[in-house]
């Protein structure tokens, strides 16, 4: 479990993290989202013990990282941003070295190395030098090094950045496989990824957590009412005033026209308008081509909370 209380980090006089508090439970994948310079990597570096916090408390697997940093580090697997690796070492050599530095030796070390080689599909490249590996294999090796000692906690700083879509999917599958037994905290820029693999999101902006919760919770918090998308076959100029005349509709606007003669409308209302809409459209004999509730996308939530312009 990760428990962070009122974490503060200053670089000189400049604050990078301004008192953030959160926790991650075992078996949970939590995504740390935020624009560049929001304080994500600084937070992760403090959690892994690379940087000290200016103030606040961090407990990793029930261990205070300030009191027993080495003990805490033994329980953490870390994939840092850009996944730096020792280029001139061989893959097997590097795994062996890290296993021994992690306190594994003899048969235990060999068994764990074989397990992670299999889990991360590294069998084809174990005899190569790291410098010869493709980006996908490098990322898998980074993950293999992070899970080599079977840690309770995995901290992954942008684990799929700079990978092609297939490689991204492979890494995501691996994280989902690992999730069952571990506490995973990852930072990412890729919003669909956060949506697909994270149980919960923390949105960080200018060193503070501006929102946290599941994607559905964040969407619920964003909505000012119920938004519904509808597409009909009929005269657009008559449809819009008819929708606007419904008492529960607060706003309606004409959207795209995917098929000729079938305009789309986005309707905001105080409550679910689908029954009222159905009655209206059947009365007017306008066939409904599409009708669905529309929620804010993660992208919209992110931009709204972090004040980005697009």
């Amino acid at each position: 479990m990760i428990d962070v209380q009122n974490l503060v980090k200053h670089y000189g006089a400049a604050p990078a993290v301004k008192g953030i508090t959160f926790s991650v439970q075992p078996g949970e994948v939590v995504g740390l989202l935020g624009p560049n310079g929001a304080g994500k990597s600084t937070t992760l570096r403090i959690l892994t013990g690379y940087l000290p916090a200016t103030d606040g408390a961090v407990r990793m697997a029930e261990i205070d990282i300030r009191d027993r940093p080495l003990e805490a580090r033994k329980r953490i697997g870390y994939l840092s941003e850009n996944n730096p690796l020792y280029e001139s070492l061989g893959v097997w050599e590097c795994l062996g070295l890290f296993a021994r530095l992690r306190g594994l030796a003899g048969d235990d070390a060999r068994r764990r190395i074989r397990t992670v080689v299999e889990q991360c599909s590294l069998l084809d490249v174990v005899s190569k030098d790291i410098g010869q590996l493709s980006k996908g294999f490098r990322q898998r090796l980074g993950l293999a090094l992070a899970i080599l000692h079977d840690p309770d906690i995995l901290i992954l700083d942008e684990p799929t950045s700079a990978l092609d879509p297939n490689q991204q999917q492979e890494v995501r599958d691996l994280i989902l496989k690992l999730k069952e037994k571990k506490t995973v905290l990852l930072s990412t820029h890729i919003l669909p990824e956060a949506q697909n693999i994270c149980d919960r999101l923390l949105i960080i902006h200018q060193g503070t957590i501006v929102a946290q919760g599941t994607v559905a919770e964040l969407q619920g918090r964003m909505a000012e009412g119920v938004t519904t998308y509808v597409r009909l076959k009929g005269p657009g100029e008559d449809i819009l005033p008819a929708i606007q005349s419904l008492p529960l509709v607060t706003r309606a606007e004409r959207m795209d026209e995917k098929e000729p003669g079938c305009p789309g409308f986005l309707i905001t209302s105080a409550e679910d308008p689908r029954f009222a809409l159905f009655d209206l459209f059947s009365e007017k004999r306008w066939p409904v081509m599409e009708l669905r509730p529309q929620s804010a996308s993660l992208d919209e939530i992110f931009r709204s909370l972090t004040g980005a312009n697009g």
């Binding site: 570096r45 013990g49 690379y50 080495l70 580090r73 020792y86 001139s88 530095l101």
Partner: protein, 238 residues
Amino acid sequence: MKLSNVRLLAKKEWKESFNSPMPYIFLVVFFLLLGWFFISSLFLMGQATMEEFFGPLPLLLVFFLPAFTMRLFSEEYKSGTIETLATLPVEDMEIVLGKYKAAVGIWGLMLVLSIFYAVLLFVLGRPDPGPLAAGFLGAFLLGGFYCAAGLFASSLTRNQVVAFLLGFLSCFVFFLFGKMVHFLPGIPGALLAFLGVDIHYESFLRGVVDTRDVLYFLSGQVLFLAGTLASFNSRRWR
């Protein structure tokens, strides 16, 4: 502190170093140069000593050892591997000592290889074993001192060329101090001479192993290693 971690980290540095051409070039040039000094003394002057081998070391190593130590921290800073290393369950001191051990190990290997020259002397003549053994000890301590200075320089920057220049300057200053005695009279000259490597190293070449000289080299290494540790730790308070 776990010595097994220091050993493992030193091994990592050795593997990384010997996977690049640098140490091989380093060894070949070093032995060609010192081999020439040694052979000219042995065959041209007919002296069965290693003075001509040990004599130029304080100046030669000013170039050679910072060239080896420059990458030890700088490369890790530049590539970002330092973050991977510093988040392993190893202490900062173990990382510093591992790198130092690797550097001193390379220098030790060079000295072990140069025992060949000593063996040659015993085959061809009757050298005095005292100055020879003391010379090897002095050379080892001098190299350790320069390695520590080079490592400190490497811990200050992510640029290897800057690390080399800083390492070179740190070593060269201690080399120059020893020469100041000829230009600066009185106490300042004597003080600088004491700080310089020359008078301490020359005792070994005469076959004298004085604890004060041993302490000079050892305390210099400890100071530079403490500086390296502080510099590496500075990420924590910057």
